[in-house]
């Protein structure tokens, strides 16, 4: 594989007897493997063995040796490697036990061997695919970008009926249009409750203690907010005890100054 060869070429790499890889280095090292199967396959090839003749027991020791160093490192990175370590350890432990059932004991090992075989086929396929000519790596397409096709232009009418009065009328139209874009400013009237209370009190006092219709005290011209303030003022005055509010038998509400 030319383009994604692992940095550790077999030649410059000695099979680990008493292996020590600094954990930081191992992290980098693991990243050049695409997964536990890749690492396992690498270990097997290291010994010039084929998948079918490999001894799970031996390879397990070696694999665990690698993984031990990194188990305290980034778990996201090594989770899958740890899973493989667990599988290997399980297979190994089963092999150590006295054999009762021949069919059952090999199932997991067989599955792993089968997985490895599949993975080996895959790596072979990757090599082959990678050797194919590839767009933008080995060959390039002629790219024509942003072609501006000449568009059919709107032909100018040379016989345009252009006169001074035409110009004048269109200018006039524009001025009329401009009028429609007048700016309006919304001015907020600040209505204070206490001012309103005074106003209402004066109005009531002018009645000389006579009852007056509640509606007459309100001024709809001041808008929604005004009405709200007026109502609050009336309630406030009632609360103070400055005015009386009563509902008479005709169902209407009246108010008077005390």
């Amino acid at each position: 594989m030319n383009h994604s060869a692992t940095p550790l070429e077999p030649k410059e790499y000695k099979a680990p007897q008493s292996l020590y890889i600094p954990p930081e280095a191992l992290e980098v090292y693991l990243e050049c493997f695409s997964g536990p199967l890749d690492l396992l396959l690498y270990l097997i090839r290291q010994k010039n063995l084929s998948i079918s003749e490999v001894s799970i027991k031996k390879i397990t020791d070696q694999y665990l040796n690698y993984i031990q160093n990194i188990s305290h490192l980034k778990f996201e990175l090594v989770a899958e490697y740890l899973l493989m370590a667990a599988i290997l350890a399980e297979i190994k432990s089963k092999e150590l036990l006295p054999k009762n059932n021949n069919e059952d004991e090999d199932e997991q090992a067989q599955m792993l061997v089968e997985n490895l075989r599949q993975y080996e086929i895959l790596t072979d396929a990757v090599d082959q695919l990678n050797q194919l000519e590839r767009l933008d790596r080995d060959f390039f397409r002629c790219e024509v970008k942003n072609i501006v096709y000449p568009q059919k232009q709107k032909s100018f009418d040379k016989n345009l009926n252009l006169t001074v009065s035409n110009l004048y009328s269109s200018f006039e139209e524009l001025m009329i249009k401009k009028e429609r874009f007048k700016k309006y400013e919304v001015i907020f009237d600040s209505i204070s409750t206490s001012e309103k209370m005074d106003e209402i009190m004066q109005k009531l006092k002018r009645q000389n203690g006579e009852f007056i219709r509640f509606e007459q005290l309100l001024n709809a011209k001041e808008g929604r907010l005004g009405l709200v303030v007026q109502l609050i003022s009336l309630l406030e005055l009632t609360k103070e005890g400055s005015i009386d509010m009563k509902q008479f038998s005709d169902g209407l509400i009246y108010a008077r100054a005390k």
């Binding site: 383009h3 994604s4 692992t6 050049c32 493997f33 695409s34 997964g35 536990p36 199967l37 890749d38 899958e80 493989m84 599955m111 089968e114 997985n115 075989r117 599949q118 993975y119 086929i121 895959l122 790596t123 072979d124 396929a125 990757v126 082959q128 695919l129 990678n130 050797q131 194919l132 000519e133 590839r134 767009l135 933008d136 790596r137 080995d138 060959f139 390039f140 397409r141 002629c142 790219e143 024509v144 970008k145 072609i147």
Partner: protein, 201 residues
């Protein structure tokens, strides 16, 4: 009015009608490879406007072959890809052109190549099926990149829990590897792993 019509006619008379050059112009100006059907449609629309007789696919094919021959020994070649005809720079100029295009063809990772290889050989395939063979989870970035690169597409959803997407390679993938069809992929003994899903389940 009469005058204008005349000028139009004169203009049309000057327009090129030589099939081989028309094809060259269309293919060269197209961003995507041009399939024969598209070429035929464009040419015949053009001919109709000029009140000329339509041409058959066979006639176009003959001219395309001629054009291929014209470009044969040039740096730019006319090639027939899976999705149509397009102009390419001959791969022998790869070294010359590399520095300018290096950044675009950044080296794909092993995981990336494994994923696209599996999709190419085992399609239609789901993500979990890819993961089963690779023994590691497939990063979303890889799938997204492959989709963006237009090498793979979602062909549907598998009717299993979670409705996982089923991936297939695109015509652009074939074009990118100079393959006419999936049968042209390098022969790899992938038959053995037919029932890998059963093994892993």
């Amino acid at each position: 009015m009469l005058e204008q019509n005349n000028t139009n006619d004169n203009k049309n008379l000057k327009l090129p009608t030589d099939l081989i050059y028309l094809l060259e112009a269309i293919i060269f100006s197209s961003v995507e490879p041009s399939p024969l059907a598209v070429l035929e449609k464009k040419i015949n629309e053009y001919f109709q406007e000029l009140s000329l007789n339509p041409v058959s696919k066979k006639q176009i094919q003959i001219k395309l072959d001629e054009l291929c021959e014209v470009y044969k020994n040039r740096a730019v070649n006319l090639v027939q890809l899976s999705s149509g005809y397009c102009f390419e720079i001959n791969s022998s100029f790869c070294e010359l052109l590399k520095p300018a295009t290096q950044s675009r063809s950044s080296r794909p990772s092993k995981a990336y190549l494994e994923t696209i290889t599996l999709i190419a050989y085992k399609q239609p395939i789901t993500r979990s099926e890819i993961e089963a063979i690779r023994g590691v989870s497939v990063s979303s970035n890889i799938i997204r990149d492959l989709l963006e690169r237009d090498w793979i597409k979602v062909a549907g959803h598998k009717n299993t829990p979670g409705m996982p997407a089923i991936y297939e390679t695109t015509k652009h993938f074939l074009d990118s590897f100079h393959l006419q069809s999936l049968q042209d992929l390098p022969q790899v003994n992938f038959e053995k792993i037919q029932n890998e899903a059963d093994l892993n389940s």
